[in-house]
């Protein structure tokens, strides 16, 4: 390899390749799935070791086997007034409703804010103001106004997920390249055609990014809300278990939430590949 040091810079890789070294693949092709899985396995292994050698009291750190048993029991017989499926179902219903509302209202409003100065002027200040508040700070108010049932929780989650969706749609409109708009106009596009064939598809990658952020914000808020005021849901299940120091059930709840978050983000990535395969290409 010392020979290559004397060569002009651009010749050096060619010589090294001839010397028998494998040409490096571009970073993207290699992927991280295997490394990620190994890390996951190591973490689980550490958990096994920690509980097997009693590095912590079983009261604080239940064994994987114990958690697995509880997972089966909670799934079959239920805990805190419902089976795992019931709890997961009500959590999913809340976040699903909230996301649907956030998309149905937030995307059109964000697009309108991106295109029209007046809409932007009217709505950006109120949204900016409430978006700065921690959702749990205004939850008590929502409960006083709307009662303890589903309405207040769905509204809370809608507010938490609405702002990122709305702002991303607005940013998506603002990011449409001016040349792309000019090109379409010089091809004879009318206002409606500009919107449907240029603005909306150009904004789609940003909207999907916003949706990902909204899902994250929604999950965080969901569990917190269920810890405070709920009679069902995975967060409520965790809270009930914690009251009885049933750490194994708390673990079950955490694992379920982790699995939920992981599948949602995997789903979003799949959706992005399907809907915006061109993202970052041009």
């Amino acid at each position: 390899m010392t020979v290559t040091a004397d060569l002009p810079l651009d010749l050096a890789p060619a010589v090294r390749r001839r010397a028998g070294a494998r040409p490096a693949k571009p970073l993207r092709e290699k992927g991280t799935a295997l490394i990620g899985f190994a890390t996951f396995a190591a973490l689980v292994g550490f958990w096994f070791a920690a509980s097997h050698f009693q590095w912590a009291s079983p009261l604080f750190l239940p064994s994987p086997a114990e958690v697995a048993t509880q997972l089966r029991i909670v799934a079959e017989d239920g805990y805190a007034g419902g089976t795992l499926v019931t709890h997961l179902g009500s959590s999913l219903w809340r976040i699903g409703m909230a996301l649907a509302l956030a998309i149905v209202i937030g995307v059109p409003l964000g697009l309108a804010m991106g295109m029209n100065r007046w809409v932007r002027g009217v709505f950006s200040v109120p949204i900016d103001l409430y978006w700065g508040l921690p959702p749990l700070a205004y939850l008590p108010l929502l409960i006083i106004w709307l009662g303890i049932d589903e309405t207040s929780k769905v509204l809370l989650l809608t507010l938490a997920t609405f702002a990122p969706v709305c702002f991303s749609a607005q940013a998506g409109v603002r990011s449409v390249p001016a040349e792309r708009m000019n090109a379409a106009r010089s091809l004879g596009a009318g206002r409606l055609q500009l919107f449907s064939t240029i603005i909306l598809p150009s904004a789609l990658p940003e909207i999907l990014t916003g949706l990902r952020i909204a899902i994250g914000a929604g999950l965080a808020t969901l569990v917190a809300a269920e810890l405070i005021a709920a009679r069902s849901g995975v967060g409520y299940m965790i809270m009930s278990a914690a009251n009885f120091l049933a750490t194994d059930i708390v673990f079950v709840g955490l694992i379920v939430i982790a699995a939920l978050a992981f599948s949602l983000s995997t789903g979003m990535r799949w959706l992005e590949r399907r809907l915006v395969p061109w993202k970052g290409k041009i």
Partner: protein
């Protein structure tokens, strides 16, 4: 026919003063002509094109196309940009057919026409590909096909080959000369390459900055030879070509003082 009459464009600069991007420019484009505007950066050549395209309002003066005043962008003037403006989510074929789609042409028919245009620019095989799988030169070919699809009265080309490597650039120049000879479209072409201007223009307009104005016009007809032979070498070595090239070069580097008194 395109008529530019005493067209001026004034921008407000960041320091509050006014920048005269275009100063009382007049220009006629006849059918069958390629008018090439050449000049240093800031000479107003792109401003002129943007005004003709309708992207930019005039501060004073007027631009008419076949007697109709230009008020905004429209399908009668096809624009080819330096930057790639193809839609990444649409196939090459759908990109070419975009203007026809805006006109309400049915899918089957617009695809048919788009396929013919792709053949004209030598990309018949690539209709189903997304644009980002094409090279820069190929993407510019698609851009030209797209601009031609609506059968515009004229083509406006804003340094369309400026970002391409020199070999691809020569191929594209040949392609444009051939398309022009075949379709007879009037073309307004912007470039900073004097050689490209002489090679492609039936009229070369030399522009100079501060304020942006036309300082000289030259008639040329190298493009007809070029369209027939497709060979650059024999044309650019002609004594007449070399003499014109040097004359224009001198004008660009030492423009005559503006008759309105602005010092260079």
């Amino acid at each position: 026919m395109l008529q530019v009459r005493e067209a001026s464009v004034v921008f407000p600069a960041s320091d509050g003063s006014d920048v005269q991007a275009l100063d009382r420019v007049s220009l006629d484009l006849h059918k069958d002509s390629i008018v090439v505007a050449v000049g240093a950066s800031g000479c107003g050549k792109s401003t002129l094109l943007n005004a003709v395209a309708g992207f930019l309002p005039l501060t004073e003066g007027s631009i008419t196309l076949d007697g109709e005043r230009i008020e905004g962008p429209g399908g009668d003037r096809g624009v080819v940009f330096q930057k790639d403006t193809l839609l990444p989510w649409a196939s090459v074929l759908d990109n070419v057919a975009l203007g026809l789609r805006y006109q309400g042409v049915a899918k089957r028919e617009r695809h048919q026409q788009a396929r013919e245009l792709l053949g004209l620019v030598g990309l018949s095989e690539f209709g189903d590909k997304p644009p980002y799988e094409l090279s820069g030169g190929m993407r510019q070919r698609v851009g030209i096909a797209r601009a031609l699809a609506t059968d515009p009265k004229m083509l406006l080309m804003d340094e369309p080959f400026g970002a391409l490597d020199s070999l691809t650039r020569e191929t594209m120049q040949q392609l444009l000369a051939r398309i022009w000879a075949r379709t007879g479209k009037q073309v307004l072409f912007i470039t900073h390459s004097i050689e490209e201007a002489l090679l492609l223009g039936t009229m070369i307009v030399v522009m100079s900055p501060r304020p942006g104005r036309i300082v000289a016009r030259f008639d040329a007809d190298f493009v007809r030879d070029f369209a027939n032979s497709g060979e650059i070498g024999p044309i650019v070595s002609q004594p007449r070509f070399v003499a014109l090239r040097e004359e224009i070069r001198a004008l660009i580097h030492n423009p005559p003082v503006s008759k309105h008194g602005a010092l260079q």
